[in-house]
């Protein structure tokens, strides 16, 4: 079976290659590379990834410009059809700005750019992205962000928690995120946004392989 994934590159994306390598290592198939100005995505995609970086130089708000680029209309249509969409770091910011996920990502409460390995608790191990983990398991995934402080109002947070849509929480809250949230799912469970970078933990040489299980789970779920 070939796994048809696409990695979107915006001007200023810088984790697109790492994302493509992680997907290829896990699936054995090279992902399609798509440019932000492309209007259309192929209809038969199995997976779409929005990578980390600083799309459009973080002008206006992180992810705001990218969320309105031509390719995002196709990404929204694919997400509505149920195609799995993963947004990592800037990709998560793009997904919230595009309203595919609730909430917003604000400047870290410390004001500092934070680059480190983060311990995460897997809150929901039943999604297509997280079924390779056990609920409550602690995994180690790197973070590198300035705007990772997740905000949503209390009502939204209660709903996310009630519906099992918090995928990951930080063990130690270093960026100010409300309720320690590191990653959230959409209502249908096919869109995941997370600040930590699973594509940076797919090879023993990275110092850990906990991220690889996310890609393997998504591929297995589609097989």
């Amino acid at each position: 079976m070939s796994f048809r994934a696409a990695v979107v590159t915006f001007p200023g994306s810088n984790c697109d290659r790492d994302m493509a390598v992680a997907l290829e290592q896990a699936s054995g198939t090279k992902p399609l590379r798509v440019w932000h100005g492309d209007a259309d995505l192929p209809d038969n995609l199995d997976f779409i990834a929005l990578p980390g970086g600083f799309s459009y130089g973080d002008y206006l708000r992180s992810g705001a410009m990218a969320a309105n680029s031509p390719i995002m209309r196709s990404v929204k249509r694919a997400a509505e059809r149920g195609v799995p969409v993963l947004g990592v770091c800037n990709g998560f910011q793009v997904l919230t700005e595009a309203r595919l996920l609730p909430g917003a990502l604000m400047r870290n409460s410390s004001q500092h750019f934070i680059c480190r390995t983060a311990a995460l608790t897997v809150e929901n191990a039943h999604s297509l992205f997280t079924s390779g983990y056990a609920s409550g398991e602690t995994v180690q995934i790197p973070v590198a962000h300035h705007d990772g402080n997740y905000f949503a109002d209390d009502e939204t947070l209660d709903r996310l928690e009630g519906e099992g849509r918090v995928a990951f929480r930080y063990v130690e809250n270093f960026n100010g995120s409300r309720r320690d949230i590191a990653g959230v799912l959409n209502a249908a469970g096919n869109v995941l946004g997370m600040m930590p970078h699973p594509e940076r933990a797919v090879d023993a040489a990275h110092g850990g392989t906990d991220g690889r299980r996310l890609f393997e789970a998504a591929i297995k779920a589609l097989a």
């Binding site: 206006l60 309105n68 919230t96 700005e97 917003a104 604000m106 870290n108 004001q111 905000f151």
Partner: protein, 78 residues
């Protein structure tokens, strides 16, 4: 027509930048500063026929993120 859009954080949304600036003002010895909130000003020059509804939609679609921000549209006299 000159338009000024003032974007501010909603009440209740923490403003780490404002807090840091508040500390800096206190560090400089300024007294009586109760709170600092940082927002953004966006100036537009639009065709006179641009409707209020269109301006409002620009704000809601792109200029402000209404999850965390409020906005106010001002029309400036020439």
């Amino acid at each position: 027509m000159k338009i000024r859009v003032l974007v501010s954080l909603k009440p209740g949304v923490l403003d780490p930048q404002g807090r840091a600036v508040h500390h800096a003002l206190e560090g400089l010895g300024f007294k009586g500063v109760e709170d600092v909130r940082i927002g953004r000003t966006i100036e537009l020059d639009v065709d006179d026929s641009t409707s209020d509804a269109a301006l409002d939609e620009m704000c809601r679609t792109l200029l402000a993120n209404t999850v965390i921000e409020n906005y106010r549209i001002e029309k400036l006299d020439r």
